[in-house]
């Protein structure tokens, strides 16, 4: 049981939670995630650790309401207990000074991108970050990103903030302008796919952090499997970061939809049985 000690709404659908988890805070590094379960009948879901505070013994999670489980978690308040939190899981990001890094984040993918950007900057890289969302209200963590990046470019689909256009347009602008040594991308699978196609075109090595479905998060079940370079890999133990150009994103997107029907149905039932006051 882990107590929530801080809660903040980044937008209507995106919530930041700070939880007590001293052991995880001590051992986590950029790229690590946790598995969280809410309630005795809850499901286990992976969430990337967006930050940690050693003195307070806390970790920060950023959650987007997309289904039953994420909504249950987002509905918890300060002082409430999260039933189960386990981690830190996965391999940490490989941090090295390479020169110029082009980081791209979409949706809640921006949250896990933050510690990676932080670490890459600290290692002495020049970091240019492209943040993308549908509209202005969905751009999160902009200030923190600015703090740790040399430059931040904002892209919105509807042009309500920053530049109008897709994340890849923002990235291409940078690539055409200067030499990029490494790209890092975190976000929805489809976004990472197109980022990867773009950087592939320019021969820029690229790391993607994959957010597959998971159950145990310790390599026991294979729910998280993806094809990388023609081989099956388990995201929870072999990843979550992989060479983006080797990842079969189409397969990953299909697998992410495994339970789409039953999930949508469950979510509607949940909303109907828990009417908002």
């Amino acid at each position: 049981m882990n107590k929530i000690i801080e809660k903040e709404y980044f937008s209507e659908a995106v919530v930041k939670l700070v939880l007590e988890a001293p052991a995880i805070a001590r051992n986590r590094r950029a790229g690590h995630f946790v598995i969280v379960r809410t309630g005795d009948k809850g499901e286990r879901i992976p969430l990337t650790i967006a930050g940690a505070n050693l003195e307070r013994g806390t970790i920060t999670l950023v959650i987007q309401k997309v289904g039953v489980t994420s909504t249950k978690l987002c509905d918890l308040e300060v002082g409430d207990l999260v039933t189960d939190v386990v981690g830190p899981l996965g391999k940490p990001t490989h941090i090295e000074k390479v020169g110029t890094v082009l980081a791209s984040g979409g949706g809640v993918g921006v949250a896990p991108l933050l510690p990676i950007v932080e670490a890459l900057k600290e290692a002495g890289n020049r970091v240019i970050t492209v943040l993308a969302a549908r509209k202005r209200e969905l751009i999160i963590l902009e200030e923190q990103m600015r703090e740790h990046s040399d430059e931040v470019i904002i892209m919105t689909d509807d042009g309500s903030y920053g530049k109008k256009g897709l994340v890849t347009q923002g990235m291409e602008e940078v690539i055409l302008r200067e030499k990029v040594d490494l790209a890092v991308t975190v976000g929805p699978a489809v976004m990472m796919k197109f980022c990867s196609l773009l950087t592939g075109k320019y021969g820029i090595s690229t790391v993607a952090s994959l957010n597959t479905l998971m159950v145990d998060g310790t390599g026991m079940c294979g729910a998280c499997r993806v094809t990388v370079g023609g081989k099956t890999k388990f995201v929870c133990v072999d990843g979550p970061e992989f060479d983006a150009h080797q990842v079969d994103f189409d397969e990953m997107m299909l697998r992410l939809n495994s339970y789409k029907l039953s999930e949508t149905e469950a979510y509607e039932n949940f909303l109907n049985s828990n009417p908002k006051p």
Partner: protein, 490 residues
């Protein structure tokens, strides 16, 4: 005469045993027929998750206990990996002292209610029984009787808590809460150690909880046994992955003096054939975890599972039987076992195969999958299988399956469960670089002491054996406890 046989003889010579032996002639005893287990009817049980075996009635158990000859040389014990004093516990049943009988079991077995249900007695104690060996008759139903006594105790509400030595305050840890870790913890706490069991999942019990289904081993039974361990003073830390949440070094700094790694054979194997990552294709671990640990079949729980009308389970072990019988219970019209050898070579327990057959499970023996096909949404809809024939025996002594060219055909499926074995969980070896592992990834230990290549770190169960049984894991845990005690007191 060695210590053990000396002890067994002394026990056998006790008056109550002599008296029982005098009650009935051996000839009468051997005339009795072996009991049969009461079971739920097959066409009913394949639609529910309650236990298939219903246990013996008191009268049945006492009658079966009479069959046991209380042999001078009880060969049955040599077949038991933890050396239960079998005639003694059986004779306590014959005497009607059921709680005493359960105590005998607990002298050497921490989880008798579990073992009475899932141990392969037919290749262990019952195989070594005088009836099997010399009389060529069905053996004494040792497994059923073990379950009877253990259940009697659980239901009596008077679970005995074994005696504990004076506490010595020395902290030791078990990494993993499967049978190896639990058996280890029980022995160490009895010796007075301060024992903590670390478990990665949110439930205690390892495969007993996430793998073996309710209809064979109800979680309630496992929990009752774990409660006894808690009463004995064992501490449990769930959601704690040693090597991630904290390292062995961190735990040493917190005062832990020695470790027993019982982290199991977690990693599921796939066949690496085309289409294996389509939606609806699971490892047996995932399928069973969703249903057993996460309760996916109950709509009140959030975890989903896809379990369709035409389910194929690939493999021939206990896990495959558990998965295929689960699929039937989730409503499948066709549940098929696809196994590349014949039914004789199947590693599953005889009882599981028999139960599966009764439950309307189809067996496609001598068939092997080659490829899966999916619909436009990436959901598996068909598979290609090939017929096999048996050739010469291979290194395992079983006849090698050989593909029959041109025999391929297609079957329609909407769910597939791949149950072709597991590999050792790599978390601990990865986090302890100095730990020696075999080329399979199992931890190397001294077979006598279960001591690994790292000072003060012992290991046992599936992480050492690479996929074995509950009772062998428990035996390892006990051996490790004994050796660790010696190591710490030297």
């Amino acid at each position: 005469m060695d210590g053990v046989s000396e002890y067994l003889k002394q026990e056998r010579d006790q008056e109550w045993r002599l008296a029982l032996r005098g009650n009935m002639k051996n000839k009468e005893r051997t005339q009795l027929e072996r009991v049969s287990m009461r079971e739920q009817a097959a066409d009913k049980r394949n639609k529910n998750f309650t236990e298939v075996n219903l246990g013996l009635l008191k009268e049945q158990a006492m009658l079966e206990a009479q069959r046991c000859l209380d042999c001078v040389n009880p060969t049955c014990i040599t077949g038991c990996p933890v050396g239960i004093n079998i005639p003694k516990f059986i004779k306590k049943i014959e005497a009607g002292e059921f709680l005493e009988s359960a105590k005998v079991l607990k002298e050497t077995n921490t989880l008798p209610a579990v073992c009475g249900r899932v141990c392969p007695q037919e290749v262990q104690c019952e195989e070594a029984c005088f009836y099997t060996q010399k009389l060529k008759k069905p053996p004494v139903a040792i497994g059923f009787l073990e379950r009877f006594s253990a259940d009697y105790e659980q239901n009596s509400g008077e679970m005995s808590v074994p005696d504990i030595h004076d506490k010595n305050g020395i902290k030791v840890a078990s990494i993993g809460s499967g049978p190896a870790g639990l058996a280890f913890a029980a022995d160490m706490v009895k010796l007075g150690y301060d024992v903590t069991v670390f478990e990665a999942l949110h439930e205690i019990g390892g495969v007993l909880k996430y793998g073996i289904p309710e209809f064979r081993l109800p979680n309630r039974i496992v929990d009752l046994e774990i409660d006894v361990l808690k009463k004995m003073g064992v501490k449990f830390e769930k959601n704690f992955i040693v090597g991630a949440t904290a390292s062995v070094e961190d735990l040493k700094a917190e005062g832990f003096k020695a470790f027993m790694v019982g982290s199991g054979a977690g990693l599921p194997n796939f066949m690496n054939i085309p289409g294996e990552n389509y939606i609806g294709i699971y490892s047996s671990n995932e399928y069973l975890t969703r249903v057993n640990l996460m309760n996916a079949a109950d709509p009140a729980y959030d975890t989903p599972v896809i379990s369709g009308n035409k389910v194929a389970v690939i493999g021939g072990g206990n896990t495959a039987m558990d998965a295929v019988r689960t699929s039937k219970r989730l409503g499948a019209e066709r549940s098929i076992i696809i196994y590349r050898r014949s039914i004789q070579e199947m590693p599953a327990r005889v009882e599981e195969i028999k139960h599966a057959q009764e439950e309307d499970i189809e067996f496609m023996n001598l068939h092997n999958p080659l490829e899966y096909f999916a619909d436009e949404n990436g959901r598996v809809c068909k598979m290609k299988v090939q017929k096999m024939k048996l050739g010469e025996p291979d290194s395992s002594g079983r006849r090698r399956p050989i593909p029959i060219e041109g025999s391929e055909f297609i079957i329609e499926v909407d769910t597939v469960v791949v149950s072709v074995g597991v590999s050792p969980n790599p978390l601990i070896p990865q986090s302890m670089k100095e730990l020696e592992v075999s080329s399979w990834g199992t931890i190397k230990v001294d077979p006598e002491s279960m001591h690994s290549s790292v000072e003060g770190v012992f290991a046992g169960g599936d992480i050492v054996r690479g996929g074995a049984t509950v009772i062998l894991a428990m035996g390892d845990g006990r051996k490790a406890a004994e050796a660790m005690n010696r190591y710490l007191t030297q």
